[in-house]
């Protein structure tokens, strides 16, 4: 199996606090890999380093064998690494149509085009329509993002990441804050991602993790505690102690 995404001895410190400790992680191509851990384990910090928002203090990040540690965010996207955010990061004033249209235009290299109007390229329009349909956004495409219900915004958040046609997708708690009635849409969309897309999922919801992931890494205090297939991780007494136990208490 080839490795799609890899970290080697990743270290990140905020002042004296070590939030990522010597983290070496391998995500296989086509995997549904989940990164779990209790609150404050540093999961989102890892995602931010993978995406390029944060720079690690030391260690390397490799995408499909290529070192991307020093690349800025937008260049990683063009290399096929895209992400969603735990808290929606959308454009309040833009419509769903514009939001997705822009992501598609950027990927096809039209983003710097200052002459041709939006909506005049057939291939871009076709792709926008396909994405809007797939993410149940076609009926609200002309509404400003800020006016959309939260569940729709969440779908848009994922749709924007998919519009970049990633080969590796980082999903940061895709179902976070979504009301029960709208969860189904999100889960269906995530579940229907094509197999050639490698997914690294961060999630608190254990049902989602165990139904979706084929491999799980457990992060505690910034360090890797254990890693393996779901059944093995579920049985691991250490994991139960630090994470699942806490979850059980919450329930």
């Amino acid at each position: 199996m080839t490795i799609a995404l890899e970290t080697r001895n990743l270290e990140k410190q905020f002042g004296g606090l070590r939030v990522t400790r010597d983290l070496s992680l391998k995500v296989e191509q086509g995997a549904r890999h989940a990164l779990i851990g209790p609150n404050g384990a540093g999961k989102t910090t890892v995602i931010n380093q993978l995406a390029g928002v944060l720079k690690p203090n030391s260690g390397r990040i490799l995408l499909e064998g290529q070192d991307i540690t020093d690349l800025p965010v937008h260049k990683r996207v063009l290399r096929g690494l895209s992400r969603t955010f735990q808290i929606n990061q959308l454009y309040p004033d833009l419509t769903a149509l514009e939001t997705i249209g822009l992501a598609v235009s950027e990927r096809l290299g039209h983003g710097g085009d200052w002459w041709r109007r939006m909506g005049t390229r057939g291939d871009v329009n076709g792709e926008i329509a396909e994405l809007l349909t797939r993410f149940h956004l076609l009926d609200v495409m002309n509404e400003q993002t800020v006016t959309l219900p939260y569940g729709k915004q969440r779908l848009l958040e994922i749709a924007v990441a998919i519009a970049a046609k990633p080969r590796v997708l980082l999903l940061d708690e895709p179902a976070a804050g979504v009301p029960e009635s709208e969860r189904h849409d999100i889960l269906a969309v995530v579940g229907a991602l094509p197999r050639e897309v490698t997914v690294l999922l961060i999630e608190h919801d254990m049902d989602l993790v165990f139904s979706f992931a084929d491999r799980i890494s457990v992060l505690v205090s910034g360090a890797l505690l254990t890693e393996g297939p779901p059944e093995q991780v579920a049985r691991d007494p250490q994991v139960k102690a630090v994470y699942l136990g806490e979850e059980a208490v919450n329930v």
């Binding site: 995406a51 928002v53 800025p72 965010v73 937008h74 996207v77 063009l78 895209s82 992400r83 955010f85 990061q89 959308l90 454009y91 309040p92 004033d93 833009l94 149509l97 514009e98 939001t99 249209g101 822009l102 992501a103 235009s105 950027e106 990927r107 039209h110 983003g111 710097g112 085009d113 200052w114 002459w115 041709r116 109007r117 939006m118 909506g119 005049t120 057939g122 329009n125 076709g126 926008i128 329509a129 396909e130 809007l132 349909t133 076609l138 495409m141 002309n142 924007v160 990441a161 519009a163 970049a164």
Partner: protein
């Protein structure tokens, strides 16, 4: 209609010409024939409108605040003045473009300072650059004429055909043509994928980068273009008034520009144009009534605008025109109201 063509139709919604826009430009053109005794003030408004449109490009679309936009206006003004004074380029239109390019070079050079940092840093950096240039212009008085300014500028006829007349008629139509051409270009730019990416950056730079937008490059590009526009506005100033003095760099000029956009609104291109008209009219009105205290009344108007909200004011002002337009041309034709508030 298929989903794709539907998407294409709606994506171009903003880019299509509305009846209100056509009416706006026809009215502006008509003013040139209706008020032949008012060419000077109307030309002044056109210049201010172009200058404000320049600030709108960076403020309304890309979210870059500036308190030193006069830097580019000033460079354009002096460039045009020097070109004409020393007879380097005699043809006004060509000189105008060259002056704009000079401002553009400055814009590109300083953009690297401006795009770093947050709003407050940007305000200070832009302000600093304008003050710096003003001081330099004063220091090198052998080139700029110092506090006396450039004197004895004589403008040659436009395209070698149309001379500038003493009533300012040629100057007015010349300025209007320049404004309209640059407006068309700006309109094209803001409705392109590039323009949309600017709005995305203004809304959320974090996400913009996360979909592959090279944020800094886009900001540098629009800042440079805006500098070109401001330079052209400055060059128009020199060409139509035949003077260029230190006050082209003045802080008041940059500050007034902010007021123009507060009045007119940002992010729909007409804000600078409408704001320029209203601002100059108010200035005229108040300075006729109370020559000493006109600034007080301008200030009061601004406070009211901010408190009541510009969108609401626009709705009131456009209520009657839209009522008529709706009767004649149907619902969709109503005059656009700014979509974003800053």
């Amino acid at each position: 209609m298929t989903a794709a063509s539907d998407v294409g139709y709606h994506a171009q919604r903003q880019a299509r010409w509305h009846y209100g826009e056509v009416a706006f430009w026809l009215i502006v053109l008509a003013c040139g024939f209706l008020f032949p005794s008012r060419y000077l003030i109307m030309t002044d408004i056109l210049r201010l409108a172009l200058f404000a449109m320049s600030l709108d490009l960076i403020l309304g679309y890309a979210g870059i605040v500036s308190l030193g936009h006069a830097a580019f206006f000033g460079v354009g003004a002096y460039a045009a003045g020097l070109l004409a004074l020393h007879g380097i380029i005699n043809e006004p239109v060509l000189a105008l473009v060259v002056a704009g390019l000079a401002a553009m070079v400055l814009g590109f050079g300083t953009s690297f300072l401006v795009i770093r940092g947050v709003d407050l840093t940007r305000l200070m950096v832009t302000l600093g650059i304008a003050l710096l240039l003003e001081a330099l212009a004063e220091r090198f008085s052998n080139v700029t004429g110092g506090t006396d300014g450039l004197q004895g500028i004589e403008m040659q006829p436009i395209f070698g055909q149309i001379p500038f007349d003493m009533f300012g008629k040629a100057g007015f139509f010349y300025s209007l043509a320049v404004l309209f051409v640059l407006f068309l270009l700006a309109r094209r730019v803001v409705h392109s994928p590039f323009g949309l990416s600017l709005r995305a950056i203004k809304n959320n730079p974090l996400r913009a980068a996360a979909i592959g937008i090279p944020v800094n490059r886009r900001l540098i590009a629009i800042y440079t273009l805006a500098a070109f526009y401001a330079g052209i506005a400055g060059a128009l100033f020199t060409q139509t008034t035949a003077i260029a003095s230190l006050d082209v760099f003045a802080f008041e000029r940059s500050a007034d520009l902010m007021l123009v956009l507060v009045i007119g609104g940002t992010g729909y291109l007409y804000g600078g144009l409408i704001g320029a008209v209203v601002f100059r009219m108010l200035q005229e009105l108040f300075s006729t009534i109370t020559p000493q205290y006109w600034q007080f009344w301008i200030g009061l108007v601004l406070v009211v605008i901010v408190l009541v909200g510009r969108q609401r004011l626009h709705r009131w002002v456009l209520y009657v025109p839209n009522l008529i337009i709706r009767q004649v041309a149907g619902r969709k034709a109503v005059v656009a109201v700014p979509e974003s508030d800053t």
